[in-house]
């Protein structure tokens, strides 16, 4: 059984004229690392919300089709129940921190679900240790940088022990260094078995670790496959997404009749491909 399955799912927000999602069929299996990208307003955020039931439970509107999350139909399950399966991280870190210290913040979710206090304490300590949050323990959220806030928000989401972590542009308000370290931690989590769905513009930073790249435009999925394959498609330029620079160089070379053996995603990969081509 797939972890998440969209079956011919469409959604339109109340008061809107256009479908935010149209006829989505998408299957997410355990252990995958899926990057979703596409132009503004393509439906990425709505897709994330549909995975944990915020659509259609919190944001109401017209629905067709179904989304099944770990066997639950999101039309029938409450967001709070789905929270045990799918954890959501949002774009603005400040709006995710609702308490005045890190331990309380991490405990907030499990407390809501009625987990025993001893277990909560153990989880909190474990997350503080694994995500290196010790130095933030006594800080007020507004004394933390955006990157630090987002780390705490991640810990708070993971405290619910979800099977799948959905992160909606978690790096867009962060400086490049914080963004890189956050993405590195996400990819570590995936290596340790967490299923990951990540909405991200900076494809150069995430494509190498992702197992799948899903391209969306105007509410539909227009491409879905291994990152190297999807990024080499011409549709990337047509709908306008930020292709990694190394891949752009590859595409330019190809147009000039110079074909490298594989599609590079980073500068290092580009250099290796060029070296291999030379040695042949």
């Amino acid at each position: 059984m797939p972890l998440v399955e969209f079956v011919d799912f469409s959604f339109k927000y109340l008061g809107s004229d256009n479908l935010a999602l149209r006829k989505i069929d998408l299957r997410i299996d355990e252990g995958e690392y899926i990057v979703i990208t596409g132009p503004s307003g393509c439906g990425k955020t709505t897709l994330c919300r549909a995975i944990n039931g915020l659509v259609p439970q919190f944001h109401r509107g017209y629905i067709a089709g179904h989304v099944y999350v770990d066997g639950h139909d999101t039309r029938e399950s409450r967001v709070a129940e789905l929270a045990r399966v799918a954890g959501l991280m949002f774009q603005n870190p400040a709006n995710q921190l609702v308490t005045l210290n890190v331990a309380k913040e991490i405990a907030f979710g499990p407390e809501n679900l009625g987990v025993e206090p001893d277990k909560i304490r153990a989880r909190v300590e474990e997350l503080i240790e694994t995500l290196h949050l010790e130095h933030l323990r006594e800080k007020h959220p507004h004394e933390m940088s955006g990157g630090q806030q987002q780390m705490v928000a991640m810990a708070a989401t993971l405290a619910l022990e979800p099977k799948i972590l959905v992160a909606d542009e978690p790096t867009s308000n962060l400086d490049p260094k914080s963004a890189e370290s956050l993405l590195a931690i996400l990819s570590d989590l995936n290596r340790d078995g967490m299923t990951l769905v990540l909405v991200e513009h900076r494809l150069d930073l995430v494509s190498r670790n992702a197992t799948r790249l899903v391209l969306m435009d105007k509410g539909s999925i227009v491409a879905d496959g291994p990152p190297r394959k999807v990024l080499s498609l011409p549709i990337c330029e047509e709908i306008g997404i930020g292709i990694p620079k190394a891949t752009q160089v590859y595409k330019h070379l190809k147009r000039n009749g110079c074909v490298l053996s594989r599609v590079p995603l980073t500068g290092e990969e580009l250099a290796i491909s060029v070296e291999e081509a030379c040695n042949k």
Partner: protein, 274 residues
Amino acid sequence: MIIIDDVHFAYDGIYPALRGVSLQIDSGERVAIVGANGAGKTTLVKHMNGLLRPQQGRVFVNGRDASKLSVAELARTVGLVWQNPDHQLFLDTVEKEITFGLRNLGYGPEDTRARCERTMSILGLTDLANRSPFSLSGGERKRVALASVLATEPQVLALDEPTIGQDAKQKENLSNLLMELNANGCAVICVTHDIEFVIEHFPRTIAMSEGLIIADGQTNSVLTNDRVIEICSLSTPELTQASQALNQRFPEVSPRLTLVKELEDAIIKIFGGV
């Protein structure tokens, strides 16, 4: 155009944000200001239109001492576009929103109308003139906020993180607009974390760290300088990483390339092409 001379500034008098910054920006330049959060980038820009006043040092705008001018007077020369459009939109139509600043800055009714219409057509907002800004999408609201500043036709346009949340197409539209303004003589200053955007569109880069200017010069030399990258906690541009990796294998390739075209040419050369 703008001269900043040894400016010091500390918030509440105790949290230093600028610790002796000097620079000069000429008319028609395109300058990027980069650096980690808290490096003093936004504080610096706020000195250019008088929102903040130096506690030490001086600021000159158009040859006039800024300390003798009000924010409203400076705003006619230096327009500031903020990261979050919601911080400034408050009227019920796009048109009113754009004319609000013009009227405040003392333009007559005729002039206000003409400027408003011109700006709306440049930014593709004419069809939205009577819509409420609050019913628009994020990208559109950003355009309205930009229009409300552009309508005053400032000689210097300073933008704070204009590319956050913008997709590739929107970024391209923004850069086309900035290039056009610049071609008509407007100096463009951009505070940003988006290194790739800087490389493509800004010939000059100022890198800051902890209230000091660490480097000020040609973008492709500032952003490929490992020491500057380290001190200002920037990340090495994607293609500079590629050119460094190539340089290790093919020493004839410069390790400091930044553009797709440069890399393409270098690789074709490796393959023995012309």
